[in-house]
């Protein structure tokens, strides 16, 4: 008799949704001047969760002005020790409200509650705790004796880890003494708005954190605003390039965390069962909506068949469905437009002759879904080996020697992350020295820690987030040299 897991949904009752939300400017929720609203939708059900304001040029002006005043009058002059108190308070409030925030994140984003509860939220709190600790120790961070903040930071974040990306941006900015205007992605604004409420709960001085909701145009207005000293963007390489062009010559400091097409390299002496787990975690974590996803699997040819057999068997056990069910492994695709992009690239893989295999799982009737999919017989020339799919689609390539593995891994315009699987320590070090990627994982994948810097090479961007290195993006480093 089969062991069927009964549905185990996390309750939505803990989330108190309002029907519409304003913009968070200068410590208060206000209506957008233009009065335009847009809807945010639960991607697993296509149900409208709330209406959200679209910030226009006037609203961006107001928010940047509020951030400037807060920077000059309160937050900039405040001692690091006092800034730390606010950050610790925010971190504790996030922990206290973590279940509510995890449920809200899963509803708005479509990611499984298991991930929002066990990965996103613990990391969000950890980022605030970590950076709270730095706030009064910046003179010991290696940026000179009196590192100064930059001023007002414009921050634009993606929809794949909405609250975690907010934490990566807001925590170091505030710890270093900057004020922020942050724009969450248009499909996932709700946890950023809940964070605005946490800022109020923490009595954070008005204007230190401002949240503007909106789509690409709002983001463009924000990053191009002349009152901004620093721009931090995480998102697509295409938008990143546009931002870089617009920032050229303005004196704005810029950090970009863009796309990726990471190689996950498995050698014949790898711990195979754990490598299979790492491959799954590398590309099917968060439905593959991960910029550092291990989307190119490079298998040593001598073990390729064995690993692919094990991988397919393992993918057969993944549970796709209701993101709020505690046993769900694969949630919903965040939007219909993202699903269309995945469909388009998967079709190109089929057309170009790669062999497609998708896990046999039932797809719910409503919402946007894509089954875990593996392409074998992929070569460097296939689009699915070069372009970021940002979905649960793995391209499998093979190699014969370590040199060939390095060559193929590096043969991409991106350079965000890479994985190495081998029981041989010396090979890990040899590979790590040669891989042009900002993060190299050995015998693991998609591990994050606030103390560890994250960022890319080449078209994956520049600048680091997290760790001592990440502080440099929010401090007037040049002025000290």
């Amino acid at each position: 008799m089969p062991f069927e897991y009964a549905p185990a949904p996390e309750s939505r009752a803990i989330v108190d949704l309002e029907s519409s939300y304003g913009l968070f400017i200068d410590g208060a929720f206000v209506d957008a001047r233009g009065g335009t609203m847009f809807k945010t939708v639960n991607p697993a059900t296509e149900e409208v969760l709330a209406e959200v304001s679209e910030a226009g040029a006037d609203d961006v002006d107001r928010a940047v002005a509020a951030a400037r005043i807060a920077y000059e009058s309160v937050w900039g002059p405040m001692s690091g020790r006092d800034r730390a108190k606010y950050l610790f308070r925010i971190a504790r409030l996030i922990q206290e409200r973590s279940r509510e925030l995890a449920v809200l994140e899963s509803m708005d984003n479509g990611k499984p509650i298991r991930e929002s509860r066990d990965v996103d939220l613990p990391l969000v709190a950890a980022h605030f705790f970590y950076h709270a600790g730095w706030a009064d120790k910046l003179e010991h961070a290696g940026y000179g004796p009196h590192p100064r903040p930059l001023g007002v930071a414009a921050q634009v974040i993606p929809w794949n880890f909405p609250l975690l990306m907010l934490a990566w941006k807001v925590a170091p900015a505030l710890a270093c003494g900057n004020t922020v205007v942050l724009k969450p992605a248009e499909t996932t604004p709700l946890t950023a708005l809940a964070f605005a409420d946490i800022c109020r709960q923490a009595d954070l001085p008005p204007g230190v954190v401002n949240i503007l909701t909106g789509a690409g145009e709002t983001g463009r207005l924000l990053v191009e605003h002349p009152g901004v000293d620093k721009v931090a963007f995480t998102g697509s390489t295409e938008v990143g390039k546009a931002i870089m062009r617009s920032a050229a010559g303005t004196g704005k400091r810029l950090t970009l965390e863009l796309g990726g097409k990471a190689a996950n390299v498995v050698f014949d002496d790898a711990p195979i069962d754990q490598a299979v787990e790492g491959i799954v975690n590398g590309i099917f974590f968060n439905q593959g909506h991960v910029c550092c996803a291990g989307s190119r699997l490079l298998l040593q040819e001598s073990i390729a068949d064995e690993v692919i057999t094990s991988l397919k068997r393992r993918l057969g056990t993944l549970r796709l469905g209701d993101p709020l069910d505690k046993n769900t492994d694969i949630g919903a695709i965040n939007s219909s437009s993202q699903l269309a992009r995945i469909d388009e690239l998967v079709k190109s893989g089929e057309d170009e002759g790669a062999e497609r295999w998708s896990a046999p799982c039932a797809i719910p009737d409503r919402g946007w879904w894509f089954p875990p999919t593996v392409f074998t017989g992929v070569t460097q020339a296939h689009r699915i080996a070069r372009e970021e799919i940002f979905g649960p689609v793995l391209s499998v390539l093979t190699f014969r020697t370590p040199d060939e593995a390095v060559e193929k891994a590096n043969n991409t315009p991106y350079g965000l992350s890479a994985g190495i699987w081998t029981e041989k320590g010396s090979r890990i070090l040899w590979m790590a020295q040669r891989l042009r990627a900002g993060v190299v994982w050995a015998n693991t994948f998609n591990r994050f820690d606030p103390a560890s810097p994250f960022g890319g090479y080449k078209e994956s961007g520049f600048g680091r987030e997290g760790g001592i290195q990440g502080l440099g993006g929010y401090l007037d480093v040049e002025g000290n040299r």
């Binding site: 897991y5 009964a6 002496d269 790898a270 711990p271 787990e277 015998n443």
Partner: protein, 311 residues
């Protein structure tokens, strides 16, 4: 798997090359995988099913110096009817006793349950092969249809794989028709690489079941160790077509823990292993917690320790 080409003959060199050529186990990864499966939420019908399944997989065990015929008879009565107030409660899989009490146990359970005897100088395994074989034959003659043997951990850690292998072969032969469970005592093997190698060694030697622990060494069964053994059983089946069972023994005391093991089995080797023929719990106190949880599911409230029997 290409393992089938690599399967060793019984020469020491061939065994050593084969066992040391098995893929390594990354401990961090294995522990992480077991922990992730431990977060599965098993509720309602699934929980009711799992509790009954777990009860039917228990080897109800007493392995104490103070064991007496009276104690064993009482345990056998409980094994047959774990919850006298509810006849729908399944009986356990087997009773597990020392060799000298096998006859008492067999008389008490008749042909309704398996009788397992620990043999081969349990728990340390420190005796001559002759003594171990005699121990085994006597238990089988007294009515045991399952033998839980221990491997020679000293020989294993010294790299004498051939010696361990020969001993398993000899005990298997002495078992006759009785099923052989081979106890690896993973708490003494320490590394997961050793657990994988010992699992293969035992299966190649003719084990019907591989078992984590004696229960006399801490740590006994753990989810990562059981995961690695399940992977070995899965790979052995793919290589040879033979189905080998796994017994997690020692340290599993709560229903919650037992259900985590069932999830581990379900998602590692599949639900065809979720039968007493292929998965067992070696436990003494686990049964009462399973019964308490079973009563709670039936009545909606917790009864208490006085509502399950202490035998």
């Amino acid at each position: 798997m290409t393992l089938v080409d690599a399967l060793p003959d019984s020469s020491p060199g061939s065994l050593r090359r084969f066992l040391q050529g098995l893929p390594g186990v990354d401990e961090v990864g294995a522990v992480g995988r077991a922990a992730a499966l431990g977060t599965r939420s098993i509720k309602k019908d699934a929980k009711a099913w799992a509790i009954d399944a777990a009860i039917s997989m228990v080897d109800l065990t007493t392995l104490e110096g103070m064991d007496t015929p009276g104690k064993v008879r009482a345990m056998c009565a409980k094994a047959l009817r774990p919850d006298p107030t509810d006849p729908t409660t399944p009986s356990v899989a087997a009773v597990c006793v020392y060799g000298d009490l096998v006859a008492v146990a067999r008389e008490a359970v008749g042909d309704d349950l398996h009788v397992a005897a620990v043999a081969t100088a349990f728990p340390s395994g420190r005796a001559s092969l002759d003594v171990k074989l005699m121990d085994t034959r006597e238990a089988v003659a007294a009515g045991a249809d399952e033998i839980d043997m221990v491997i020679d951990r000293g020989a294993f850690l010294a790299g004498e794989y051939g010696m361990v292998f020969d001993e398993i072969l000899a005990v298997k032969d002495a078992c006759g028709p009785a099923h052989l469970k081979v106890i690896l005592e993973t708490g003494e093997l320490r590394t997961l690489d050793n657990v994988r190698r010992a699992s293969w060694l035992a299966m190649l030697g003719g084990a019907d079941f591989i078992k984590t622990s004696t229960g006399k060494v801490s740590p006994a069964a753990t989810p990562p160790v059981t995961l690695v053994m399940l992977e070995a059983v899965r790979d052995f089946h793919e290589t040879t077509g033979r189905l080998i069972g796994v017994k997690a023994a020692g340290g599993i005391r709560t229903s919650k823990d037992a259900i985590k093991y069932l999830v581990l089995v379900n998602e590692t080797v599949g639900d065809s292993w979720l039968t007493p023929d292929l998965f067992r719990f070696g436990a003494s106190t686990l049964l009462n917690d399973l019964l308490l949880q079973r009563q709670r599911l039936a009545t909606g409230h917790y009864s208490g320790p006085d509502y399950v029997t202490i035998d």
